[in-house]
């Protein structure tokens, strides 16, 4: 049986399932959240329609692409959870994390499993509804064929993992800072902006695009949405996107591990 | 006319219960079920009952936090819900389970905020505060943020906060919860004084029946939302506590004794507990009967504990039935 950090894989699977179930108890909040995402999608969509009355394409996107982009990103918002730190941050601040550190498992994998459960739930109940409602009111584009769907599935999974690795690393800063919420909120805004949440990156002037390109955030939103819009149908093209995401994933997971080890040492030395 | 008057008061809560994965079942819980009573000015009343009996719900209706589903509530001649803010000037409330002070502020600042809210003139406030500081010994922690206070210190702060505006009614919902013996007796002493010297009417909810025994002339017992006893503590004991227990130590372990007018309720090695009815037999008769058949090393008589008496009332009637 496969083991991670001294614990069998089945444990992480159980953790993910429990996390999924826990989110399913917040039904009112889930509905309300999906509703809000849909409302914002509508407003943004009308703004884009007005923009495209004067242009046919912007940065290779036509009006259908752009409106589709909006509803996919509104769906993604809850899934990649850019706004908040992991609960890990609370546990660090309260000192409860010490008991986590002594468990015979890998902390990063444990929280990843938690986050996969959460994201799975959000995908179904926060991701799909805004898009479905948007598709009723507007002309939206679906991936062109099964190969694009498959590519999107891969790209989306990587996006989730990159998003997780980023938030994990951010949450660890709670070991050094007393209060991380402000910082995480600030970083969340930068994240949203350069990920393509507020406007598709092809709209950006070249200078801002250059900035976005050297940051990891496009890997979380812009790239999977481009795959969804069938912009990377050729296999080498798609592999390039996936490789880009995987590279960021490796960098962020690595950073998270280095920080985790240092935090661990700090706890051991200073007693929390 | 009483200061507090309840007439046929009911309060329902709608609760949703999950059945299976998706379906929800709608239940109506009647937390208070036809409560009527009157409290006169100057009384100190114990309002007790088991968990979930409806005590807190009653207090919340008396303060205007909750609207009764049926019946009428009048406090100081006012409808608490309609005239909530007006009534607030005349009442003080302590919820032992809830914090009403400003978490990040020192007590002194909380008190100052309350002074403005209740529009207490500065010199009157200063005088009252000085008095409470002395009586409750607040001086050493008046400038510490509330979040750093111990439970006992916080509770003394809460009681002060509830009284600084000079209310004529004080509601206390489990004020001694979690306090140690010393803090508890100090709080009691203080409350007795507030009632006696300031003439504040007190309604006290507690699970510590010694609070009630020490403080309250009158006791109301509520169970399943109904008042099942309303009278003095002594009356309750007389009415429901006719049983006493004789504890005898024999020379060695023995079969349960067979004596007229008493029954063995517990055996532990050489020690046996015999319960008897006060009116049917006397301790002296019992002891004589036992001594005539068995060698007795030692014996004691246990008076009924108020806890036991009340537990008997909770299960719906006198303990005689068991």
């Amino acid at each position: 049986m496969a083991h991670v950090g001294g614990a069998p894989l089945s444990l992480y699977w159980a953790v993910a399932r429990r996390s999924f179930r826990r989110y399913s108890t917040y039904r009112g909040a889930t509905f309300a959240g999906a509703f809000t995402n849909t409302v914002f999608g509508f407003i943004q969509a009308y703004v884009l329609l007005a923009v495209f009355r004067r242009r046919d394409t912007i940065g290779g996107l036509d009006v259908v692409d752009a409106v589709t982009f909006t509803f996919v990103t509104q769906g993604l918002l809850a899934i990649v959870a850019a706004f908040g730190p992991l609960e890990l941050a609370d546990r660090i601040t309260s000192g409860d994390v010490v008991s986590d550190l002594y468990r015979p498992l890998d902390l990063q994998s444990w929280w990843l499993a938690q986050d996969i459960g959460r994201a799975g739930f959000q995908l179904m109940f926060r991701g799909i509804p805004p898009f479905a409602v948007g598709a009723v009111a507007f002309h939206l584009r679906l991936p062109a064929g099964p190969s694009v769907w498959a590519g999107f599935a891969v790209s989306l999974s990587l996006a989730l993992a990159v998003g997780f690795a980023w938030r994990f690393a951010m949450s660890l800063s709670a070991f050094w800072l007393l209060e991380v919420r402000g910082l995480v909120q600030l970083m969340g805004l930068v994240f949203m902006f350069f990920a393509g949440f507020i406007l598709p990156l092809p709209f950006f002037p070249p200078a801002l695009r250059d900035v976005a390109n050297v940051l990891p955030f496009a890997a979380v939103v812009e790239l999977p949405v481009e795959v969804f819009l069938s912009k990377h149908r050729a296999l080498p093209d798609l592999l390039g996107v996936v490789a880009h995401q995987a590279a960021w994933l490796a960098v962020l997971v690595g950073t998270g591990r280095v920080v985790m080890v240092r935090a661990w040492r700090r706890v051991v030395v200073q007693g929390g | 006319m009483g200061l507090i008057e309840l007439d046929g008061v009911e309060r329902d809560f709608v609760v949703h219960r999950r059945v299976g994965r998706v379906r929800r079942h709608r239940d109506v819980v009647r937390a208070v079920d036809g409560v009527s009573f009157t409290v006169e000015a100057g009384e100190m009343v114990g309002y007790i009952g088991p968990n979930g009996a409806g005590k807190s719900t009653t207090i919340k209706m008396l303060t205007g936090i909750l609207v009764p589903t049926a019946g009428s509530v009048r406090v100081a001649g006012l409808d608490p819900q309609r005239s909530r803010t007006e009534l607030a000037m005349r009442i003080g409330v302590v919820f032992g389970q809830r914090n009403q002070l400003w978490w990040d502020l020192p007590l002194r600042d909380s008190f100052e905020l309350l002074r403005h809210m209740y529009r207490v003139p500065a010199d009157l406030h200063r005088r009252r505060l000085a008095e409470f500081v002395e009586l409750l010994d607040l001086g050493s922690f008046l400038d510490t943020p509330v979040r750093q206070l111990s439970l006992g210190q916080k509770m003394r702060g809460e009681i002060t906060a509830a009284l600084l505006h000079g209310p004529s009614i004080l509601y206390l919902d489990e004020p001694t919860i979690g306090l140690d013996v010393v803090s508890k007796s100090r709080a009691r002493e203080f409350l007795a004084r507030v009632n006696r010297e300031l003439g504040v009417t007190v309604v006290l909810t507690t699970h510590d029946l010694s609070d009630v025994e020490r403080l309250c002339s009158r006791l109301m017992v509520i169970d399943h939302g109904r008042v099942v006893y309303d009278g003095t503590v002594d009356d309750l004991k007389a009415r429901h506590g006719q049983y006493r227990t004789l504890v005898v130590d024999l020379e060695g372990p023995a079969e349960p004794l067979v004596v007229d007018g008493a029954e063995v309720v517990r055996v532990d090695g050489p020690r046996q507990w015999l319960r008897f009815h006060r009116d049917r037999t006397t301790a002296a008769q019992l002891i004589a009967a036992i001594a005539s058949t068995t060698a007795v090393v030692d014996l004691t008589i246990e008076e009924p504990l108020i806890e036991d008496v009340i537990a008997g009332v909770y299960v719906g009637g006198a303990p005689d039935r068991t």
Binding site: Y26, G28, A32, F35, T36, F40, F42, I43, Y46, V47, L49, A50, V51, R54, R55, L177, L178, E179, R181, G182, L183, Q185, L186, L189, M192, F193, I198, L199, F203, F204, P205 | F13, S56, K60, T63, G64, I65, L66, V67, S83, T85, E86, A88, M89, V93, F95, Q97, R98, N99, Q100, W102, D104, L105, D109, E112, L113, H116, M117, R119, D173
Partner: protein
């Protein structure tokens, strides 16, 4: 909101509010880093909104006939209204938190209206970051729009910010009241308040018919769109009456009355929690 007889006067309420806010700022200041990062993040959040608008205009010169300066005027006034309501009234949103925890009880035990207590106690100076940012955008917009400024137009700008503040404030209270019936619906409230803020950044004529009608009823159209049309000398291509530009104060009053009624009805529905 002023309670019926026996309550404190407006002046006394102002003193209580000021005291609560002062206490709150002193308490928050104990967590300095968090205080400052939150303030900066509020400033940046608002800033990114206007950057997004500027980026849109780097791709097109006009949006439904409006220039970037004209949209910036719309944005500056409505966002300032919203930011002010965020500073002074959005605290009502914390009702949901206190209702869930049962701690709303304490607001009902005081001789002052619970809304005043809530707004004072949950006050957060960090929300002022957005006010600063809105004022900066508005200042730039006022100099860039092709308007011959005179007294009536200047008065209109001031009025519309005040009216917008009152309307958004009413919406905060109205949507926060939902929590008395459904605590979990708090986020639906966000779609009205934050969504309302977002809608009012743009000329309403870009939205489809049903959304425009909805926004007129809600009544976000009166926050800055209608008066801005008048200031810029534009007409609504969809033909809303010209007097709408002056209806703001009445609409604001109506919003407050509705919000007040719903809030008090919510308080009657408050059920506390079992302790």
């Amino acid at each position: 909101m002023v309670e019926t007889h026996g309550g404190p006067t407006v002046a006394e309420q102002a003193v209580i509010w000021r005291r609560l806010v002062g206490a709150r700022i002193r308490a928050d200041w104990q967590y300095r880093t968090s205080f400052i990062t939150f303030m900066v993040s509020q400033f940046v959040a608002g800033f990114l909104d206007i950057v997004a608008i500027v980026i849109l205009f780097s791709n097109v010169d006009r949006l439904a006939g409006w220039s970037v300066a004209e949209v910036a005027l719309l944005y500056g006034t409505s966002n300032l209204s919203f930011a002010l309501s965020d500073v002074f009234v959005s605290e009502a949103e914390f009702a949901a938190h206190h209702i869930r925890a049962g701690s709303f009880d304490r607001f009902l035990l005081r001789p002052v209206g619970p809304l005043l207590l809530l707004c004072g106690q949950e006050f957060a100076l960090r929300r002022a970051g957005k006010v600063v940012q809105s004022v900066l955008v508005l200042a730039v917009a006022l100099t860039q729009v092709p308007v011959d400024w005179d007294l009536p137009k200047a008065a209109m700008v001031v009025t519309m910010v005040a009216v917008g503040f009152v309307i958004f404030g009413g919406l905060w209270v109205l949507t926060s009241s939902i929590a008395f019936w459904a605590v979990e619906a708090r986020e639906v409230a966000n779609s009205v308040t934050y969504g309302g803020n977002f809608v009012t950044h743009y000329p309403l004529e870009i939205f489809s018919g049903w959304l425009r009608r909805l926004v007129t009823v809600v009544p976000l159209a009166f926050v800055s769109y209608q008066p801005t049309l008048w200031v810029l000398g534009r007409r609504d291509p969809h033909g809303s009456p010209a007097w709408f530009a002056f209806a703001g104060p009445l609409v604001a009053l109506a919003t407050v009355l509705v919000a007040r009624a719903v809030w008090f009805s919510g308080i009657r529905h408050y059920r506390s929690t079992g302790s």
